[in-house]
């Protein structure tokens, strides 16, 4: 469904992503894990058109999206739920969802999608007139996902959806991700919470200093000694480098 080949991204003079290639098949959950600054978010931002692709290509369902604008990418069916949720805090919950439908010309679709978002997250219906900024962190995360769903995506890019949430809410977020997959959604998941991410994803890519250091079925990656040591033993050992 998504084929990324030799993608590089740089900010000013720093190469944040170096020549990475990966694929996501329809209906898959793929997780992308790695330490801070490994290039996960930069990869996502390149996929959604927020940063310019320096080289390489992004092909989505046969359509070349390399260097496309965010609105072209959203129209093509890829939507990015950014880290830190980024809801429109001064807009109401209802208006936030409406903004998800900004590019959708068929307003009936927007209404239907909003209705299914309310089914997935009943709390949002209760809070429809409330300002998004007044919601709790977990509710804001649900709103951010809901708003993205109203765009009518086929591929959802989730950047750190569990960040800063209470454990019980994290569980709920992962349940939602599973539920979305059951309904046929394809998901690329970036997570600090690596073990949880590997538990719900079919395949995992590990990024390190802008490159992909390891890839494979999540089950196998999770069993890997080096990976286990890093994730169960603390982050300071991460730089021992999987590449060597």
């Amino acid at each position: 469904m998504l084929k990324v080949s030799n993608l590089s991204v740089s900010y000013k003079k720093i190469n944040a992503v170096r020549n990475i290639s990966f694929e996501i098949g329809k209906g898959e959950i793929v997780s992308l894990i790695g330490s801070n600054g490994a290039g996960k978010t930069s990869t996502m931002r390149a996929l959604s058109g927020l940063v310019r692709v320096k080289s390489g290509s992004v092909i989505f369902d046969g359509q070349d999206l390399t260097g496309a604008s965010p609105s072209q990418i959203v129209s093509a069916g890829i939507v990015h739920v950014p880290e830190g949720r980024q809801v429109f805090s001064k807009l109401s919950v209802g208006e936030n969802l409406e903004m998800g439908g900004y590019l959708v010309t068929d307003k009936k679709k927007v209404r239907d999608r909003t209705a299914s978002v309310f089914e997935l997250f009943p709390i949002l219906r209760e809070r429809i007139h409330q300002k998004a900024g007044s919601l709790s962190g977990g509710e804001q995360q649900m709103l951010a996902i809901g708003r993205a769903l109203v765009t009518g995506p086929r591929l959802l890019l989730l950047d750190e959806p569990s960040l800063g949430l209470a454990p019980i809410i994290v569980e709920r977020v992962f349940d939602v991700i599973r539920e979305l997959q059951k309904n046929g959604m394809t998901i690329l998941l970036v997570e600090q919470n690596a073990l949880d991410a590997m538990a719900i994803s079919g395949r995992t890519y590990i990024m390190e200093s802008g490159s992909i250091a390891m890839e494979g079925p999540s089950g196998e990656i999770a069993e890997n000694d080096e990976v286990r040591r890093i994730y169960l033993g603390g982050k300071e050992t991460w730089n021992s480098s999987l590449l060597n």
Binding site: S48, L50, P70, S71, I73, V74, S75, V79, H80, P82, Q86, V87, F88, S89, K90, L91, E95, E98, M99, G100, Y102, L103, R147, T151
Partner: protein, 295 residues
């Protein structure tokens, strides 16, 4: 009492002009984070356009509509040519650029039309007067108030309830998220400039229509005062811009009317003194949110 009422009417008139101009500053600021110091020059552009059209024999109503459209086109061009490329530059670059645009437009106007003051001949009906509660009011005063009320309500309804209006608030709230929803920021910024320019054009025409004489520097002081009104109300807040405009005019008119003789002509100084005091207590303006809330 009569004097008081007359002063009040005069303040409401002036406040309406300030409010219309202040809304423009506020809308552009909330979306671009930039203060467009050339905003006042749009009043000059509207007035000169109207004057030229009228001298060319264009009927008044048509000329007003055309002058508003011409001003909006100037607003769009200013953003395209001068501001788009410095959108992500530092604040000081943006301030200097917009000041440069302001000075350039005023000087260009002077070079073409010289700096003498000109007379704007508007239809007689506007200068007709009638008595309300013993105070003489002219038609243009009523038109000024009606236009301000109608335009303010229209802008508020547009921003609250239309798709593009909501997208404007979304961009003002979180540009990156708006971008991710496919909202085209260029188009939203253009819309903001069109709204600001239309309001400024109407304000410019009402102002020159009232005083019937104008010159190329008319936009400067009006622009500065309206900008201060917007800051007083809280930059980025529409309610604040309107309230700021009226408060500013009330202070100015009442200082000028009630200060003892000899210092009455210092009304502007006293007005600004009050504004400085207000901003010392509420640095974000009367209706502004603090920087922390905004982020």
């Amino acid at each position: 009492m009569e004097f008081f009422t007359a002063q009040l009417i005069s303040a409401v008139k002036l406040g309406s002009i300030y409010a219309l101009v202040a809304i423009g500053y506020s809308i552009v600021y909330s979306i671009m984070g930039m203060i467009n110091f050339a905003h006042g020059e749009l009043l000059m552009i509207a007035t000169f356009s109207l004057w030229l059209l009228l001298s060319a024999g264009v009927p008044f109503a048509v000329a007003v509509v055309l002058a508003v459209i011409i001003t909006a086109v100037f607003g769009i061009l200013i953003e395209r040519i001068a501001y788009r490329s410095i959108r992500n530059a530092g604040e000081s670059t943006q301030i200097i650029t917009s000041l440069a645009v302001s000075i350039f437009l005023e000087a260009l106007c002077q070079a073409i039309f010289n700096s003498s003051s000109k007379a704007l001949i508007i239809p007689d009906v506007f200068s007709q007067t009638f008595k309300v509660l013993g105070v003489t009011v002219s038609v243009i005063d009523v038109v000024t108030l009606a236009c301000t009320a109608a335009l303010t309500v229209a802008v508020v309804l547009f921003i609250r309830h239309t798709r593009v209006g909501k997208a404007m608030r979304a961009v003002a709230d979180n540009q990156e998220a708006a971008n991710l929803m496919g909202i085209n920021k260029d188009r939203i910024i253009t819309t903001a400039f069109v709204i600001g320019s239309v309001l400024a054009a109407v304000a410019g025409i009402l102002y020159s229509g009232k005083y019937t004489s104008f010159s190329n520097d008319m936009g400067f002081m009006l622009g500065v005062k309206a900008f201060i009104a917007a800051v007083l109300g809280g930059l980025g807040s529409l309610t604040g811009a309107v309230a700021g405009g009226y408060i500013m005019a009330l202070l100015e008119v009442f200082f000028s009317g009630y200060l003892p003789q000899g210092i009455g002509s210092y009304q502007t100084a006293f007005t600004f003194l009050v504004l400085i005091l207000v901003l010392l207590i509420r640095p974000n303006g009367l209706f502004g949110s603090s920087a922390r809330e905004r982020s």
